[in-house]
């Protein structure tokens, strides 16, 4: 299993041709208390950088982007009932969706954990 990160503060854990996607601890900390999550529909085809999910704090709404091209195969229904999980376990139980990759070559342009940590340090 490999883990990748994006400049939009999302993480992907890739197993076979399916990536599990969530937002990073840095992102949840920036957002503050999450009060609402909107998930993409299963079976939806998406392109890299499409807005596919929404995460809202008391103050504001933010988009979650598709980090790669593919098809949404599952949304994390836990977040619909317990949006606060995004603050508690952003890089674990509070994943947003699973996407079946249609262009695995896109992964090589994403960041490693070390690269992402260095990127966050510049912000």
């Amino acid at each position: 299993m490999s883990t990748y990160f994006t400049k939009d503060h999302e993480w992907l854990k890739v197993e076979g041709d399916v990536a599990t996607v969530g937002i990073t601890d840095f992102a949840q900390n920036q957002l503050g208390d999450v009060v609402y999550v909107e998930l993409p529909e299963n079976g939806k085809s998406v392109s890299q950088d499409d807005e596919v999910a929404v995460v809202e704090s008391v103050k504001a709404a933010s988009e979650v982007y598709a980090p790669v091209d593919g098809e949404i195969v599952e949304g994390n229904e836990l977040l619909v009932d317990e949006p606060a999980k995004v603050n508690e376990a952003p890089e674990g139980a509070a994943w947003f969706f699973k996407i079946k990759l249609s262009n695995a070559a896109q992964l090589k342009d994403l960041m490693s954990e070390a690269d992402y940590k260095a990127f966050v340090a510049t912000l």
């Binding site: 503050g32 208390d33 009060v35 609402y36 909107e38 929404v54 809202e56 704090s57 008391v58 103050k59 504001a60 709404a61 949006p83």
Partner: protein, 380 residues
Amino acid sequence: MAEVADLLTTPLFDLHNELGAKMVPFAGYAMPVQYPLGVLKEHLFTRESAGLFDVSHMGQAWLVGPDHATTAAALETLVPSNMEELKPGKQRYTVLLNDNGCIIDDLMVSRPLAAEDDGRLMLVVNAACKDNDYKIIAAALPENVKLEIVEDRALIALQGPKAAEVMALHAPEAAEMGFMEARPLEFDGISIIASRSGYTGEDGYEISVPAGAAEAVAKALLADERVEAIGLGARDSLRLEAGLCLYGHDIDENTTPVEGNITFCMQKRRKEAGDFPGGERVLKQLAEGTENLRVGLLLDGRAPAREGADIRVPGTEEIIGRVTSGGFGPTLGAPVAMGYVPSKLAAIGTELEILVRGRALAAKVAEMPFVAQRYYRKPK
């Protein structure tokens, strides 16, 4: 955040940083949007205990004339409230109006308690509007009434059900004040002017403090475990649940007090006479109603509808209104909003739809405040 360096600061700037606040630009000032507690917990803490807010960015000013009747009459040329009958030690909410009867700003006016201060009225205006307000007020005053802008005082709000008991430890006389009363007090030996009012729907005070003493007052209050520092984020969600307007969003230079549904600021004599800017139009609206009206909106489900969201009638396509403030209400545990709709659709319970990211969310016109106000009324 490079741009914060160019901003104005309040006398509590160092304290905010010490407390770990996230500072953001607001109305030209570097202000705390939240502290490490976070918006949601700050909001809930204020409703359960007491929150301390730095509102020093707001404008404080005095109108100074020879006697109360003269000063009140001068202010009445700009606002639709009865200032003449404002009693010593009392505070009143009002609005500055333009010639269309639309709102230039909303403000608090207090009349000092002491006889030697007769002829003085204290104004507290919005930060983003203050320069324009002062220009308009100064231009309208007769020769014998002056506007004195206060630059050397901070403004601190202490809000919540435990505000009174905490305040009483430092300024015992504060406990005797009723809602919308104002008076000078000694706070641990520091001269302050307190009003029993605020912007959260809770009991509490707004305290005008000499700038040099602001940090001492804030620290004395924060030392109490019943008090936490609260940022602008929670200030906004608290006032929204309380159904209170945010100037520039829920009311502005295109809305009258009638459309904005804040006619409580207009007392009988003024409503009958219409002797204020735009009076003719406002009187006509009072008699005949307005095309649109500000209403409260509750949504089904958990998705918040935010400022700018379009409103329509279920089963139709036409956009008939717009959300002017909206978000998640932490105390209610549900999304809340306010906005403008045609008056014929403003009745409580009217079913509407709010468009959020292309989806139509079911909503109903709802009574405001969304969370019951808990102001302190003195026993008669």
